[in-house]
C-alpha cells in the first residue's frame, strides 16, 4: 500500500458530510410524485386482484344458496352488493331490486329464479360469513375506484403528455415498469414499444423466433382493437409519441396538444394504408427471417 492509510479527522468530516448529502438525495428522491404514482398503480393492480379473488369466493359460496343469481347479474361487484344488502333469497322483492337500477327484465328473471331455486338452505352463521366477505369485496371495489381516480388525476399533473397519448393507467404502468418518469424519458421508443414483453424478447433473441410487437402497449385500445396486422405498426407509432411525450413531461412539464394530434393522424394513416390484410406469401420463409435475431451457434449453457 503506497498511500498512508488511516482515517484521520478530516476524512471523518468528509464522511459525515457525504452521509448528510446522501440522505438528502434519498429524501428528495423519495418525495418525487412519479414514485408515488408508481406505487399507486401497483396498488391499483394489487387491489384488482384481491377484489377478484374475494368477490369470486363470495359469489361461489353464496351460489350454494342461490345458484341462479350470478348468471343473471353477471357482475362480481353487483353480486357483492346484493349479497351484503339482501342476504337470503327470500328477501329479494320487486321494489327492492328495481330501486337498485336493475332492468325490469332482470328483476323478473331474478324473481322467477327465486321461486324455483335449487339452492339449499343457509344457516345464520354461514350467511353472516358470506355477507362479510361480500362487504369486503365492496370495500375493495370502492378502494380500487378511488385509486383509479387518484392515478388519473396525478398522471395529469405529473405526466400530462404521456397521459394524453398512452392513457393514465397505461402511462403509469410504463413508469412503474422502468421505475419512474426520469427513466421513461431516456428510453428509446423501440424499448418502450415492448416494455412488459421482456420474456418474449429474450426468447426471440435466443431462439430466432419473432420478436414481440408490443408489451404493456397492447392494453391500449388503438392497439388491441386494431386488426392483427396493423397492431405492430400502431404500437410502434404509439411508442414513438410516448417517448416524445415523456421527454416533454420530464424536461418541460407542460401539456403539448400537438403530440396527440400528430399521433391520431399517424394512426389514421396506418389504418388507411394497411386496410387489407397482407397476402400470405409476402412474408419471407422462416429460415430467411434471421437478421439481427439470429439463432445462437452453440446451445446456451444451462
Amino acid at each position: 500500500m503506497s498511500e498512508p492509510a488511516g482515517n484521520d479527522a478530516s476524512m471523518e468530516k468528509i464522511r459525515q458530510e457525504s452521509i448528510a448529502a446522501a440522505e438528502e438525495a434519498i429524501r428528495k428522491a423519495s418525495s418525487r410524485p412519479d414514485l408515488h404514482l408508481v406505487q399507486a398503480i401497483q396498488a391499483l393492480d394489487d387491489t384488482d386482484k384481491f377484489l377478484n379473488v374475494t368477490a369470486t369466493r363470495a359469489v361461489e359460496w353464496y351460489g350454494l344458496h342461490f345458484p341462479e343469481l350470478f348468471p343473471i347479474v353477471q357482475d362480481n361487484t353487483a353480486m357483492c352488493r346484493l349479497i351484503s344488502d339482501l342476504g337470503r333469497r327470500d328477501s329479494y322483492e320487486a321494489e327492492g331490486l328495481q330501486g337498485r337500477g336493475m332492468t325490469d327484465k332482470k328483476v323478473e328473471a331474478v324473481l322467477i329464479a327465486k321461486a324455483r331455486s335449487k339452492g339449499g338452505e343457509i344457516s345464520d352463521p354461514d350467511l353472516s360469513r358470506v355477507k362479510a366477505l361480500a362487504s369486503l369485496g365492496l370495500e375493495l371495489s370502492g378502494q380500487r375506484d378511488r385509486l383509479n381516480e387518484y392515478v388519473e388525476s396525478m398522471m395529469k399533473k405529473v405526466a400530462p403528455n404521456v397521459s394524453q397519448i398512452a392513457g393514465a393507467t397505461i402511462g403509469a404502468r410504463l413508469m412503474a415498469k422502468v421505475g419512474g418518469l426520469d427513466r421513461l424519458a431516456v428510453l428509446p421508443a423501440s424499448t418502450i414499444q415492448i416494455l412488459g414483453a421482456e420474456k418474449a424478447l429474450f426468447r426471440a433473441l435466443r431462439t430466432g423466433s419473432r420478436p414481440p410487437k408490443h408489451g404493456i402497449l397492447f392494453q391500449h385500445q388503438e392497439v388491441h382493437m386494431a386488426p392483427k396486422w396493423q397492431r405492430g405498426k400502431i404500437a410502434r407509432t404509439l411508442a414513438n409519441k410516448i417517448a416524445i411525450a415523456a421527454r416533454i413531461d420530464y424536461y418541460r412539464g407542460s401539456e403539448e396538444p400537438s403530440v396527440k394530434a400528430g399521433l391520431m393522424k399517424r394512426i389514421e394513416g396506418i389504418k388507411e394504408k394497411y386496410k387489407e390484410p397482407p397476402k400470405r406469401q409476402e412474408r419471407p420463409e422462416r429460415s430467411q427471417r434471421r437478421g439481427r435475431f439470429q439463432r445462437r451457434d452453440k446451445p446456451r449453457r444451462r
Binding site: 500500500m1 503506497s2 492509510a5 482515517n7 457525504s18 448529502a21 446522501a22 434519498i26 428522491a29
Partner: protein
C-alpha cells in the same frame, strides 16, 4: 496477512470476514466466534466477490488498510465485507445511483461503519466523489458500457499500480453472444487501455454467465 478466513464445513469451504463491528449483522449472515474474535460468514451466492475468491481469486486481492472505490454498492452486502477486510485503517468509498437501494446501504452500512463513505451518484461522473486516490476500484454496475465507466474511474481515481476488479455480466453487455466471448472482449478492452489482466474467473455455479476480471494498472 489476509483478513479472510476459510473454514471447512462438511466438505465445503466457507468464507468469513472478521467483524469490524462486533455483533452487527448486515443481512442474514451468521456470526461465528473463532479464537476470541468474531467473524461473519460470507455467502458466495449473495456476493460476487466471495464467489470469485472461492473460484480462484487470491484471498488478498483486497487487503487491510486498502482504500477501495466501490461502484454499485446496492444495499451493501458485499461492501460490508470489504469494509471488514480493509479494517479500521482502510476506506470504502461506496457509489450507488438508485436512491431506493442506497437508503439501505447508508442506513445499515455507511452510518455504522466509520470506514465507509457513501455517495448517491452516477458512476459516469467520478468528479462527484473524487475525495481520494484508491488502491482498488471494484465495479459491479451491470451497465452495457461499464468497462468504459470503470476505466474512466481508474483514470481519475486509481493510484499507479492499483487493482481493478470488474464484474462482467454477459447478459447486460450482449444477450446474443456467448458469455465466454463477452468476457474475452471486455478483457481485451482493459488490455488496450494498458491494464495487465491477471485473471478472469467464471463465477459459476454461484452466478450464471458472470465473470470477475482482476487487472492491475
Amino acid at each position: 496477512m489476509s483478513a479472510i478466513r476459510r473454514e471447512e464445513r462438511g466438505g465445503r469451504t466457507v468464507l468469513l470476514t472478521k467483524s469490524l463491528l462486533r455483533g452487527d449483522r448486515v443481512y442474514n449472515e451468521e456470526l461465528v466466534e473463532i479464537e476470541g474474535e468474531e467473524y461473519r460468514t460470507w455467502d458466495p451466492f449473495r456476493s460476487k466477490l466471495a464467489a470469485a475468491i472461492l473460484r480462484g481469486l487470491p484471498d488478498d486481492v483486497v487487503r487491510p488498510g486498502d482504500r477501495v472505490l466501490y461502484l454499485g454498492t446496492s444495499t451493501g452486502t458485499t461492501p460490508s465485507h470489504v469494509s471488514d477486510i480493509v479494517g479500521g485503517s482502510g476506506l470504502v468509498v461506496g457509489v450507488e445511483l438508485s436512491a431506493r437501494v442506497a437508503r439501505e446501504f447508508v442506513e445499515n452500512v455507511a452510518r455504522k461503519r466509520k470506514n465507509v463513505i457513501p455517495f448517491v451518484a452516477d458512476a459516469r461522473d467520478p468528479t462527484k466523489y473524487s475525495i481520494t486516490k484508491v488502491d482498488v476500484v471494484y465495479c459491479d454496475i451491470a451497465q452495457q458500457d461499464q468497462t468504459e465507466i470503470a476505466l474512466e474511474n481508474c483514470r481519475q481515481l486509481l493510484r499507479d499500480g492499483g487493482t481493478l476488479l470488474l464484474v462482467v455480466k454477459a447478459r447486460s453487455i450482449d444477450v446474443l453472444k456467448e458469455p465466454e466471448d463477452v468476457f474475452r472482449e471486455e478483457k481485451r478492452k482493459l488490455e488496450v487501455a494498458g491494464f495487465r489482466v491477471a485473471k478472469v474467473v467464471d463465477l459459476a455455479p454461484f452466478d450464471k454467465d458472470h465473470a470477475m476480471i482482476l487487472a492491475a494498472s
